[in-house]
C-alpha cells in the first residue's frame, strides 16, 4: 500500500495505515505535495498536514478532518481528497488553475489520539485524550476549545461531558497547534473543517445567533457547493449558519477563523441521515468522498476567483 494508486481508499484504516497513505501520496507526487508536521497531540502523535504547492509565498486554503475522532468517514474522505487533488493537478483545468495560485493544506487526522482510541478502546470516542486536572474524566471537545465565544452557550464546563470546552481557549494542544499555524501563515483565505454526520454545510456563526457580515455571499457559495455535491448522487444538504441550522455552539473552529478575517470559513457535516450515524459502511466512503470533493471544489474555486 505504499503506492498511492493502489492504496485502498475504500476501507477504514488505523492511524498507522492512514499515515502510510499520506506518505504514499507524498512519494508519488513529490513536485506537488510535501508533508509537514505542525505539532504533536497530547500523547505525542504527529499532526501531519499535506501541503499542495506549486510556488512560494502563496495564499492558501486550509482543510481539516477528524477533529471528532469517531467521525471516521471524515478522515477517510480527506485522504481520498488528497489523492484526488494530487492526481487532478495538470489534468483538471480548475484544480490546476487553483494550485497555480494557491497552496492547499490538508490535515487528515486532526485528533490522532482520539482516533487511535476509537480504534482500540472505545469506538464512540469523540474528544481528545487530555487528562483533566481534578477529574477522573478524560478529554476536551476540540471543537468547543477555539477562541470564539469560548465558554458561551452550547459547550459544557463538565469534564465528563462529550462537549467539554476545556479550561481555557486553545488549551487543547491540537487546537493550539492549528491556531498557531494559521496565525503564523497569515495568508489563509479559506478554511474548511470536515465533520460528520447529518449532511449540512455550515458557516458562521455558532457562538452567537446573528448572521455574519458576509452572510449573503457565504450562503450563495454554500448553496452552490451543496448543489455541486448533490449533482453526483442526489445527496441533499442543508445550508446555513451553525446557529440557525443546528444549534448554538461556542468555541468552534470556523467562528474563530471567520473572526480573525478568514472570510470563507465553512464546515461540512458529511453523510448520513438516519441509518448508520457514525458507523457509515465502508462501501460509502468513495461515494461520500467523491461528492464532497465537488462541494469542496466549488468553495475553493470561489476563494480563487474572489481575492480579498
Amino acid at each position: 500500500e505504499r503506492n498511492s494508486a493502489t492504496f485502498n481508499y475504500a476501507t477504514y484504516h488505523t492511524l498507522d495505515n492512514l499515515f502510510k497513505g499520506l506518505d504514499a501520496i507524498v512519494l508519488d507526487f513529490k513536485s506537488l505535495v510535501t508533508k509537514q508536521q505542525i505539532g504533536t497531540s497530547t500523547e505525542g502523535r504527529p499532526l501531519y498536514v499535506l501541503k499542495f504547492s506549486t510556488g512560494a509565498s502563496r495564499p492558501a486554503i486550509w482543510i481539516d478532518a477528524g477533529i471528532h475522532s469517531r467521525e471516521w468517514i471524515t478522515q477517510a474522505t480527506a485522504l481520498w481528497v488528497g489523492y484526488k487533488l494530487a492526481t487532478d493537478y495538470g489534468k483538471d483545468a480548475s484544480i490546476t488553475s487553483l494550485l497555480n495560485k494557491f497552496d492547499v493544506y490538508l490535515l487528515v487526522v486532526t485528533n490522532p489520539d482520539g482516533y487511535v482510541y476509537s480504534h482500540t478502546a472505545d469506538r464512540m470516542w469523540r474528544k481528545t485524550r487530555a487528562p483533566n486536572s481534578g477529574s477522573r474524566c478524560i478529554g476536551v471537545d476540540p471543537n468547543r476549545n477555539w477562541n470564539a465565544g469560548f465558554g458561551g452557550p452550547g459547550a459544557s464546563s463538565d469534564p465528563c461531558s462529550d462537549s467539554y470546552r476545556g479550561p481555557s481557549a486553545e488549551s487543547a494542544v491540537e487546537v493550539k497547534n492549528i491556531a498557531n499555524f494559521i496565525r503564523s501563515h497569515g495568508k489563509i483565505k479559506g478554511f474548511v473543517s470536515i465533520h460528520s454526520y447529518s449532511q449540512l454545510l455550515l458557516f458562521p456563526y455558532g457562538y452567537k445567533c446573528t448572521n455574519p457580515a458576509h452572510y449573503t455571499e457565504l450562503n450563495t457559495v454554500g448553496r452552490s457547493a451543496a448543489a455541486a455535491l448533490s449533482s453526483l448522487y442526489g445527496t441533499q444538504y442543508k445550508v446555513g449558519t451553525i446557529c440557525s441550522t443546528i444549534y448554538q455552539a461556542s468555541g468552534g473552529s470556523i467562528d474563530w477563523t471567520y473572526d480573525i478575517g478568514i472570510k470563507y470559513s465553512f464546515a461540512f457535516e458529511l453523510r448520513d441521515t438516519g441509518r448508520y450515524g457514525f458507523l457509515l459502511p465502508a462501501t460509502q466512503i468513495l461515494p461520500t468522498a467523491q461528492e464532497t470533493y465537488l462541494g469542496l471544489k466549488k468553495i475553493m474555486e470561489h476563494v480563487r476567483d474572489n481575492p480579498y
Partner: protein, 94 residues
C-alpha cells in the same frame, strides 16, 4: 475495550417546541448515560441518541409518556461495530 452490546440508537422526531424541551430535559439525566449523536435543538432536525441497554426501558417510557415519536435507527450497536471491525480486518488481509 468498551462494548456496546444491547445499545440502541433511537431516532426521535419532536413535533413541537415543548417536546424539544422534554428532550433537552432528558439530556440532563446523566444517570441514563445517553450519548446524543445529534442534539435536540429544533423540530427540523431529528435527534439521534445512543441508549445503553440498562436505560432503554426508561427512555422509551419517557418518550411514550410524552407522546414523542421515535424509531430504532440501530438495533444493536455492537453488532454494527463488530461487522465494521471484521470488514477492516478482511481488507487488511487483502
Amino acid at each position: 475495550v468498551k462494548t456496546f452490546v444491547g445499545h440502541q440508537v433511537l431516532r426521535i422526531k419532536a413535533s413541537n417546541d415543548d417536546q424539544i424541551k422534554e428532550l433537552q430535559a432528558l439530556e440532563g439525566l446523566t444517570h441514563l448515560e445517553l450519548d446524543f449523536w445529534t442534539e435536540p435543538a429544533n423540530i427540523d432536525n431529528p435527534v439521534d441518541v445512543r441508549v445503553p441497554f440498562h436505560s432503554l426501558q426508561s427512555v422509551k417510557s419517557y418518550l411514550e409518556f410524552n407522546n414523542i415519536e421515535y424509531s430504532i435507527m440501530i438495533n444493536d450497536l455492537q453488532t454494527v461495530i463488530d461487522s465494521e471491525k471484521q470488514e477492516m480486518e478482511t481488507d487488511n488481509i487483502k
